[in-house]
């Protein structure tokens, strides 16, 4: 390859944790900088290069009218646009406003709400522009992030394992916290990538990597309600956190909140 690929990192509404995951690749960081030109990465460098970029990593969700315009320009400047993390991929924790009253939220936090510009919704990047790949996680896994950059660098198809946290537990021989102890756990419907951290630390998965493909959230929540006698008061907040707006979690959380579930028809 004669010319280095040009990498850009852009931030929208977020906590910076996913871009930090790139800076946390201490062993790979200097080597990566040899392989790609880090052309625009405000958290790490004062040299803010102009587009076009080969890869744009986008962190954060769209919560202001200005950001809704800015993401269009980012898309135009980038050959490959990859979203990193739950905010960019599903709207993040700040999407909880979608279930609340935005005006009231403004009043709760700010004495002078009129100074604040903010949209009533927090939406994922894919609601605004075409996205080439979505890396899930709150935060993303540093190894997976470096891996997908290597995929682009070597012109391979980007891929990360698309099985559930539940399967990671089985592979690691972790005792099932749901079956053995009745702890509500989203492991069966959550995308792997964390290394089954929560079950390994004796707690249920809280879904920070978002839904796995073909997640059957209805079946899981029915099982937790009927067999484990978990209440919607516990399960609705569990589904409505960092990926509240991811379709599988949203549908299931809304169904539980509305009191619609299949009662008693389980063996």
């Amino acid at each position: 390859m004669s010319q280095k690929l040009r990498l850009a990192v852009f931030k929208f509404a977020s906590c910076d944790g996913c871009q930090l995951s790139l800076l946390n690749a201490e062993d790979e960081l200097l080597a990566l900088a040899e392989q790609v030109e880090i052309a625009h990465f405000a958290e790490a460098s004062s040299l803010l290069g102009a587009g076009p970029f080969d890869i744009a990593l986008v962190e954060g969700s769209i919560t202001t009218a200005h950001d809704a315009e800015r993401i269009q320009q980012v898309r135009q400047s980038a050959k490959t646009l990859i979203t990193i993390g739950a905010c960019a991929t599903s709207g993040g924790i700040q999407a909880l406003r979608n279930w609340g009253d935005h005006e009231e939220f403004l009043r709760i936090v700010y004495p002078r709400p009129e100074y604040i510009e903010s949209l009533a919704t927090s939406t994922p990047i894919s609601a605004h522009v075409p996205v080439d790949f979505e890396l899930q996680g709150c935060p993303v896994n540093t190894g997976q992030l470096v891996g997908i950059l290597a995929d682009v660098l070597h012109q391979r198809q980007i891929r990360v394992p698309n099985h559930s946290v539940c399967r990671t537990c089985k592979l690691q021989g972790v005792v099932c916290v749901a079956v053995a102890r009745g702890v509500p756990c989203l492991g069966p419907i959550t995308q792997a990538g964390c290394g089954a951290l929560c079950p390994r630390f004796d707690r249920g998965c809280y879904g920070c990597f978002g839904p796995v493909v073909q997640a059957n959230a209805e079946s899981l929540t029915d099982w937790l309600v009927q067999r484990e006698h978990q209440s919607p008061a516990v399960l609705v907040p569990l589904l409505r956190n960092f990926n509240a707006q991811a379709p599988a979690f949203q549908a299931s959380g809304d169904r539980l909140a509305a009191g619609e579930m299949n009662r008693g028809d389980m063996p």
Binding site: A8, F10, K11, A13, C15, D16, G17, C18, Q19, L20, S21, L23, N24, E26, L29, L30, A33, I38, A42, E43, A44, S45, S46, L47, L48, G49, A50, T63, H66, R70, Q73, V74, S77, G92, I93, Q94, L96, R97, G100, F105, L106, I108, V109, Y110, P111, R112, Y115, I116, S118, S122, C138, P139, C198, F201, R203, Y206, C208, V234, P237, N241
Partner: protein, 446 residues
């Protein structure tokens, strides 16, 4: 249009966490207004926490900041435990201190090596700095990695750890896993001292301020969590009095609220310079030796030298981590069970960049009725503006781009975390007769 008034508009402040701008207005050669404009979009944590189970608070508030999630988790659990009248065990408290050591190491070494040090050597980034100082930057990355490793063992992962809960930890770490870190931590004490001596030799602008330094002051240890504050002006107050002594107020140019003293609207400085001044005697001997021998007189009131203070605190964090791990045995219980009850609790802990205050009201069902969160960058924001106002006059003979550059450098010394309260700082310098140019945040350059 007068001849002695003019406009500067410069790009983006970088190497900070979050998004903001700086607007400066000059009139007749004097600095009229300095506004640190934080336009990081609001995310409404204090609003959507209402009605949530209190158990969710440490995981949710961690997401305010990916750089200092442990600080949020620690202030949250201590405040909620105060509301629920839970007494944690000394063993749990020690493990919390250990977790905080990991975050101080990770956050301080990141800021020292990749964000701040480049300013003293004309570099745009830590990666560029690594070409000039390969050994030093590699050493910094290794120190940072050990901090992250500590967070992983104890917290599960370094960004948004999953092991912290109200009452303690979901699971106590196995002693062997922690003990395996001892050789790295021993290396870290020495290497962090070398790194501190390296940064202490940087060329610092001669800029000394009369700060009201405020930090937590525990009786017998260097602060992470305590119930008492002290000020360099000689006053002290309890965490319960925090909101009586300090207030948050809103300015039109910022989505972050600014903290100041309620009695006289005066600014204060929180963070490593304040902590070292008010807790010097509690530094570990290794950290104290570096502090005494690095050529800086304490109390240090030059914000540019905060990089040295961070280095000293990294030595402190390594030494403290070693102390805790050497004494550690598997505790009988990882957390204290509790029943929900209605109450109000507040707590403050020392995030890497300054004090972080939380207050929660919980209802009898264990749900959050009210949440108040005052992050470190809010605490320091007014001080940053005042420092800029004081610093700017000496810059005005420079080229516009250089003025902006020097202002950015000063802002960076606070390690501002604008996600907690910024990343892009756009800088505008305005003359009195020109129309106010609103910041045009973070457009990708074209």
């Amino acid at each position: 249009m007068s001849d002695d008034s003019w406009t500067i508009r410069v790009g983006t402040l970088t190497r900070v966490e979050g998004e903001g701008a700086l607007n400066v207005r000059l009139r007749d050669g004097h600095v009229e207004t300095v506004e640190l404009n934080i336009y990081e979009p609001p995310r409404f944590f204090e609003a959507f926490l209402r009605g949530r189970p209190l158990e969710d608070v440490p995981d949710i508030t961690a997401r305010i900041c990916g750089i200092c999630p442990v600080a949020y988790q620690m202030s949250a659990v201590h405040a909620l435990e105060a509301a629920l009248e839970i007494e944690i065990t000394p063993e749990i408290r020690e493990l919390r201190r250990l977790l905080y050591c990991g975050e101080w190491i990770e956050s301080h070494t990141l800021h020292m090596h990749l964000l701040h040090a480049p300013d003293f050597h004309g570099c745009a980034s830590g990666l560029e700095l690594a070409r000039l100082f390969p050994r030093e930057v590699q050493r910094g990355l290794r120190l940072k990695k050990i901090g992250n490793r500590l967070l992983e063992i104890l917290g599960g992962r370094s960004v948004h750890p999953i092991n912290v809960c109200v009452g303690g930890f979901y699971r106590s770490p196995q002693p062997l896993l922690l003990q395996e870190l001892i050789p790295d931590l021993e290396w870290g004490v020495t290497a962090a001292a070398e790194a501190t001596r390296w940064v202490a030799g940087f060329p610092f602008p001669d800029f000394v301020r009369d700060y009201d330094l405020i930090a937590l002051t525990p009786e017998a240890e260097y602060p992470f969590h305590a119930r008492t504050f002290a000020s360099s002006k000689g006053t002290s107050f309890s965490v319960a009095e925090y909101e009586k002594v300090l207030e948050e107020h809103q300015v039109p140019h910022s989505t972050a609220l600014q903290a100041r003293r309620r009695e006289n609207a005066a600014s204060c400085l929180f963070g490593p310079l304040a902590r070292i001044h008010l807790n010097f005697e509690h530094l570990h001997p290794e950290a104290r030796t570096v502090a005494e021998e690095c050529g800086i007189e304490w109390p240090c009131r030059n914000p540019f030298q905060s990089i040295v203070a961070r280095g000293i605190e990294v030595v402190q964090a390594f030494a403290e981590a070693l102390r805790i791990i050497r004494a550690y045995t598997l505790p009988r219980q990882s957390r204290i069970p509790y029943e929900p009850r209605a109450g109000v609790g507040m707590a403050a802990t020392e995030a890497p960049r300054g004090t972080l205050y939380h207050r929660y009201e919980v209802d009898e069902a264990g749900r959050i009725a009210q949440a108040v969160i005052i992050p470190p960058t809010s605490q320091n924001q007014q001080q940053i503006e005042e420092d800029l106002r004081e610093y700017l006059p000496r810059l005005l003979t420079l080229e516009h781009a250089e003025i902006a550059d020097h202002c950015e450098r000063l802002i960076r010394t606070y390690d501002p975390c604008i996600s907690c309260a910024t990343h892009f700082l756009k800088f505008t310098l305005e003359r009195d007769d020109s129309p106010h140019v609103p910041p045009d945040p973070s457009l990708p350059p074209d």
